[in-house]
Amino acid sequence: MLALRPVQLTDLPQLQRLARESLVGVTSLPDDTERLRQKILASCASFEADVQSPGGESYLFVLQDQESGCLVGCSEILASTGCNEPFYSLRNRPFSSESRELNIQHGVPALSLCQDLSGQTLLRGFHIDAQRVRTSQSELLSRARLMFIAAHPRRFAESVITEIVGFSTEDGQSPFWDAIGQHFFDLPYVEAERLCGLQSRTFLAELMPQYPIYVPMLPPAAQACIGRVHPDGQEAFDILEREGFETNSYVDLFDGGPTLHARTANIRSITLSRLAIARQSPEIDARGRFLVSNDGLGSYRAIVAELDVRADGPVGLSPDMLVALGVTDGEPVRVVTL
């Protein structure tokens, strides 16, 4: 059985393996021991912090095989963007080109650097072993974050966003980067993303063009990348889209990947999940697959389980499940349909 839990410092070597395998555009997972150690420490501190309103806390989770102890994935929540450093995106909105005298009016799409997405909860750092892509486990890895938000609403903002990795070729070429970032950095895309993970992302963002970029002036290949998802980022996109997330007019400033957003209160796993009393049941008449979590903080756990869940009343869990969730008979658990 796999269970999701908060990261610990002892996870560092395994986390670095995951970081090494992660997609180039997942800059929140740098393949760098010291940076990862800092991330783990920041996460541990966040779980322990007494938080009244969302700030710069980051919550890093790992998905672990209970038998082997092997980590198969990780995912993260940043409580609020723009707290410790500005959060930049490109806003894609038409520039209105208008002349009454010439009887002309048309909109020319333009990308402008902005901090519009500050103050929102950010889902990031999603990575799962390649063989577990598009399984219930990747669903667990992504959505357990939403269950955690449901359990601790005060720690998070009223809206949640995520940046999906944008298109790049197998040999690491990003047509979007080549048309824009390359001019301002003189670095290949892969190297820029690597620096983003190591240095502050903001630091690089501040070198980006401050004036609008007019989309029709970009080469067609770069235009085609605006809002385009990397093939390996498609699952992360699909899971959250099913949760009610929608694309908006913001894209990533490096690779043009789309941003998804949702009102926290409207997210499916948050609105539809409910608390139920756990009952130890040696035998379960399974009627469907569910995500199950406790509402803990540092002791937070989440699993996928085949259960018999009714509209109300307790929910029967096997002894294994109770152990994996760290709960005992009679304690509450949060459940939602997979």
Binding site: E101, H183, F184, L207, Y211, Y214, M217
Partner: protein, 344 residues
């Protein structure tokens, strides 16, 4: 040859010149009605009946057989009746020393900085007349006119030189920039702008600076570059002290060259001299001479000798200038032979 204000009787000659110049010469469209209007306007300008903001001094170059073979113009002030736009080619630096990043990105800034200055424009000399001093006479006569009447002009004179465009009238700069906002070909925009719609088109363009690195390479390559046909005219003006200080045309990126009036060689070195008639010797230098009049302005070039406060010219020159011995003229030595002005 003389340069004089245009007259309504010049209309057929102007139409002919406009046809020779072709559609690329947008400020002189081969359209009878519009040319007639421009002539009438110029006559009112020379008569002192229009404000500086509307002044259009249109000159013609006429040979001794009264054939009009060239045209040039000077405006009182640009940008006072409708906004006048240029880009200034500035610089953005993207710098992160710790990462070894240091990028200099030429950036275009839209501006109205030429507002209130005077423009020299609409120069065209018939191809068969591109010899001797004709090109310089036609171009520099305007500067001598400014020297005589500086109060009628701005502190600077500017000239917008035609930028790069191919034989089909395609401008790589327009294709990479203006076309996205106007959604029409350069030749159409160019035509409209010749008809006085330039500011309307300019107002379709974004106000915020533009990074040149986002333009096509072909477009970047022509920023501030004059069309080969404009180079002779540019060299004449450069020799007068005009220079390119980074301003360009917003449509085709041709250079805007400029000079403070008081720094222009012809203005600075010209002097008022009393005319005397005689026979300058065959080695006497060529001078550019203006009869100091406004409505009946005449400018010519001729061999002349300066003796103290007087200028000795031959009888024909005096006749061309419509002056008598004892009248004062404004004169300046013509620079050594250089290139011919063709179009600017």
């Amino acid at each position: 040859m003389i340069v004089r204000p245009v007259a309504l009787t010049d209309l057929p000659a102007l139409l002919y010149l406009a046809r020779c110049a072709g559609p690329g010469f947008t400020s002189l469209p081969a359209n009878e009605e519009r040319l007639a209007h421009r002539i009438r306007w110029a006559q009112r300008t020379f008569a002192g009946q229009v404000e500086r903001a509307d002044a259009d001094y249109l000159f013609v170059l006429e040979d001794d057989d009264r054939q009009v073979v060239g045209i040039s113009a000077l405006t009182g002030a640009i940008g006072l009746r409708e906004a006048w736009y240029n880009y200034r080619v500035g610089m953005t630096v993207s710098s992160a020393p710790a990462l070894g990043i240091e990028r200099r990105i030429p950036t275009l800034f839209l501006n109205n900085e030429m507002t209130g200055q005077s423009e020299i424009c609409s120069l065209y000399l018939h191809p068969e007349q591109r010899y001797a001093h004709n090109g310089r006479l036609l171009s520099l006569a305007r500067l001598l006119f400014v020297a005589e009447f500086p109060q009628m002009f701005g502190e600077k004179l500017i000239a917008e030189l035609r930028g790069h465009a191919d034989e089909q009238g395609c401008s790589p700069f327009w294709d990479s920039l203006g076309r996205h906002f106007f959604k029409k070909d350069f030749s159409y925009a160019d035509q409209l702008s010749g008809m006085g719609n330039k500011s309307f088109i300019a107002e379709l363009m974004p106000r915020q600076p533009l990074y040149t690195c986002l333009l096509t390479e072909q477009a970047q390559a022509v920023i501030g570059k004059a069309h080969p046909n404009s180079e002779p005219a540019m060299r004449i003006l450069n020799a007068e002290g005009f220079s390119h200080k980074g301003y360009i045309d917003i449509f085709d990126a041709g250079p805007v060259i400029e000079a403070a009036v008081s720094d222009i060689r012809t203005v600075r070195d010209s002097r008022a001299l009393t005319l005397s008639i005689g026979t300058p010797d065959a080695q006497a230098p060529f001078w550019l001479i203006h009869n100091r009049r406004l409505e009946s302005c005449r400018v010519t070039s001729a061999r002349a000798h300066q003796h103290g406060h007087s200028l000795l010219v031959d009888r024909l020159t005096a006749k061309r200038l419509q002056v008598q011995p004892g009248d004062t003229v404004r004169a300046v030595p013509l620079p050594k032979r250089g290139p011919q002005a063709v179009a600017a």
